[in-house]
Symmetry: D2
Subunit: 327 residues, 4 copies
């Protein structure tokens, strides 16, 4: 698949690891200005894509910065020990992206629409996070050493509030002046096996148009005035992507036939796109593919993400203590 396809359908490539693959697909080799690292854990593998130069930024459609992807198919298996390990990997990799004193004030933001299951990951993570900022003032006896003042909001979506999400966040940021913002959002992936099994951590924040809720403005250091780390989990694949991948795979399998390859090459570039548009009428870009059990999958991964964040922000807290605190 090519980036052009995504543009034609106004679909954002949310995962840097997929944007990287798409960009490499175009050139046939590693992109100049990108460094890739890999780490292997018992229940997950981690890929770190560093976008360093402007050329890479252009090719991948992703701003310069660090993109850490945790892939853990075990998350779909309801295995609490494996989950705990993935939460710990998330905590470790998240911690690697900031350097803050123990007193640093941190704001969590859960993006998305709590009334639409696949877009509700952000608000769900907020529900399960260890929020402590008020305790420093009103109940310090409930705190232990190694806990930071953390606050959290779920700002809703434009259709519910009438206000750009970025405006609400910015308003709160100006009041409470956090030293770091961590934003959690639902993403769309290019492949269904990523749903609820892949976690992306990016120190570039959220770009306009990313996520499944079509944000119109970015939430990043530029717009907020403080560093922003975005944590995203794919919860859907656009139906248009499924359709496109199917046609491509179909043609791929037939490629040995030289006549067919010739016909394929002669297709107008927007031919497949027109076919797909017709199939997906009247919803087009708004049709999502999700597994039947999406409600349960999102509940599960929201606990892991909230646990990982809580361990990263409160260094004295283990996963068991997180569970104990949140019950």
């Amino acid at each position: 698949m090519q980036l052009d396809f995504y543009k034609a359908f106004s679909i954002n490539v949310d995962l840097a690891i997929e944007a990287h693959d798409l960009a490499r697909g175009q050139t046939g080799r590693e992109i100049p200005g990108v460094i890739v690292d890999r780490e292997k854990y018992e229940n997950s593998s981690v890929t770190i894509v560093k976008v360093i130069e402007e050329q890479a930024e252009q090719l991948m459609g992703k701003p310069r910065g660090n993109y850490i992807t945790i892939e853990a198919p075990v998350l779909r298996e309801n295995n609490r020990l494996a989950q705990q390990e993935v939460a710990e990997v998330l905590a470790k990799k998240l911690t690697s992206l900031f350097n803050l004193p123990e007193s640093a004030n941190i704001l969590l933001v859960g993006m998305g629409n709590w009334n639409a299951t696949p877009d509700a990951l952000g608000p769900r993570v907020i529900d399960q996070s260890m929020v402590t900022r008020h305790l420093f003032k009103y109940a310090p006896e409930e705190l232990s050493d190694g806990m930071r003042p953390v606050s959290a909001i779920a700002p809703g979506v434009l259709g519910i509030t009438g206000i750009e999400t970025a405006e609400i966040i910015k308003g709160v940021v100006e009041k409470i002046q956090p030293e770091l913002i961590i934003v959690v959002d639902s993403l769309a992936a290019g492949s269904v096996d990523r749903i609820a099994t892949t976690i992306q951590i990016a120190d570039t924040g959220i770009s306009p148009g990313s996520g499944i809720g079509n944000k119109r403005a970015g939430v990043n250091r530029e717009s907020m005035g403080v560093p922003v780390i975005a944590i995203g989990v794919p919860t859907v694949v656009h139906a248009a992507v499924i359709a496109q991948v199917t046609v491509e795979q179909f043609l791929e399998q037939l490629k040995t036939n030289p006549v067919l390859e010739q016909i394929y090459k002669n297709l107008r570039p927007d031919f497949t796109q027109q076919v797909i548009n017709q199939v997906l009428q009247p919803f087009a870009g708004n049709l999502m593919v999700t597994p039947k059990e999406i409600d349960a999958l999102i509940l599960n991964i929201s606990k892991i993400v909230a646990g990982g964040i809580s361990m990263a922000l409160h260094p004295s807290i283990s996963f068991d203590e997180y569970n104990l605190y949140l019950n």
Copy 2:
């Protein structure tokens, strides 16, 4: 598309109107033993498919009986007046399928999983229905003339209860001995424009395997011992169907090329199926396509279905009174 495709993916064709099209597609002409009638209303059109002979039953994969389909794209438009009209059409067509005295005891059954949005239509309809059976005994002053004793259950799904849904219903039926059962369920359609806009009413009840929750046993006159009318609304399209339709449309557009048509004819029948299976790994038959706003669409249509049922069962109740009663 052919019925074979559905069988290969173990996907049921839930809508008789689609099964009829698929069966006609195979033969190229009207199926013997089927009578089709059409009615036109301001905001909806109605198709009545009567499956009369065994041959038609075989070809369509639908038991003999009456299948009434209401198609109302206006349901997606948040227009309360149009909704009201559709609810009235539903009430009228539902009424045409039974002939019961005013004292007849009727049981509503909301099939499906309340924890999985697209499968939650049945339980939502139950929530909004006018349940009166207990009032006849405990609060007759709240009843007016022209109301029947109606009871309602949402039996849950096998994964939640450990019990076949049909067993729970049968147990309740034996206790309260209704003269009619009306079962409401979420369906899968062959096309996304049917989602939350099409209502099927069938006096054949529910066949094994139909609906998006994979029922293992039927809920029909045979299993229950009383007449069963099923009301179904498509809330999803299987991702495999989207993929298949896309490939077919793609090839359709290229058919003018004789070489391509030849290649297509030479494909092994399961070739497309293998491609699709690969794309949909690891979920295969469990991947669903829904519009982003599915939660709101289901809430909306559940009110219309519950209103239509209430008007049919309680002949003295208008849509306004239904609203007033339910608030």
Copy 3:
């Protein structure tokens, strides 16, 4: 009952109409600096208490301003026509408290905790309100004349966000600069028959400590820099109030006995309070009395309040159109 009792239990008297009664009870006559008006409608009665002078402010414990109370026991009766009338009275009285051009930008704020049923009125009203601010920019074709740009937030509570509610609101206010803020909150009443039947509209906003969620900071013109109208509905009575009223009624009935009256006069002022504290251990001030059907009552009244607000803010909208819009 006396104001002292409320102070002893740190319970706020949320309804001005009750504070007025308590204050009059102390002096035995009308309070100087207060003007009271009454209006009668078919399904409701309205009391307007104007607190004009500082002395009245002190005696009643309510800042100077207008307090409009709508009492409508019919709201508990599930009668949609009566509800509509009450919503219209609410719209009319709300409108009397502001004077704004049609282009005025208005912010709705739903105070309270969406996870605690009796405190969830504010967020529920937001869910059902006609939010339009974004349509002016992105979809003007969905607007009709006589609609104002309205935005809406549910800021959550301190225990969930770690941030004072007033800080979040102030942050948003500074970004979007509304000309008026309307705040909706759950209140505590002195009598159970007010639950979900009484609506208070006050142009003084919300004072620190009012509402059932113990706000620590006010949301009013002083703190926000723009006019703030508060709409509150009682959803609970403090258990301590029920206990106190019972003892008082009990003694009242015995007052004809002169010995008893003597004993009562000799009681230490905190005697009853100690008894009550003992009975309510270990929850004390956090025990609430609600009717069993509180979930349904709150859902119902939230629709009426949201409808009344929407009609007041969008003068071209009738209650039917409000229903049609919101579906």
Copy 4:
């Protein structure tokens, strides 16, 4: 307080431990035909009341059988280790009430109204229970040794279904023929400190009128034809009880005054009751006292109850494995 008071308000004494105290209060000494045992655990204490003779049954208003009460104030403290211990005590005491082979088929029933927070304990416990009956047939590979076939239903309440809860249960029981029924229900207590801290296990099942949802028919061995164990947790105190206790405590404190005692003795027996009725108008018996955080308390205790039941029914399952299974 006296049993007469409860009768006057049609309030059931749900907890045997309270009925025992009330009955002893009347006689001033141990009731003939009752045996009481006590056990002490680190985080809980257990009282076993055996009602053996008919006279005791009459005096206490409780059918003959075993009533085990676990009191664990620590349950309100969000301490997972203590919770786990209480769940284990529950499992142990529950196990002591039945003697069944490993293959025994058991039905869990969650009584109550999922739409009314304090009455929703039963359905919540069902949500969190290890249901396995279907796995024996469809997925035996997911089972380990030492697991029994368990099924579970939440039958709803009369106002929602129009059907007596006992009828629905009986219908299901006749279909699946369990060897034991375990019924979970919300109870009302005589004291607020029991809310979400006390668990009652009774091998007498559920008597007509018990629980906060006013059951009209019993769910017990007599009506179901198989043994029924009821597990109940107080989630409310009737407001009338709070009012009554307050008056009694008030008078108790004044008893040293001989004149007052004389007056009190001369009161008509229904005097206090009339006062209370007046205070609680228009809700009377339907007013409940709950702590503000009741939603969170019920969520918490439902996990402990579900965990305890799962360990008792599946002897091979530890609390950690229960968590792992349920995630």
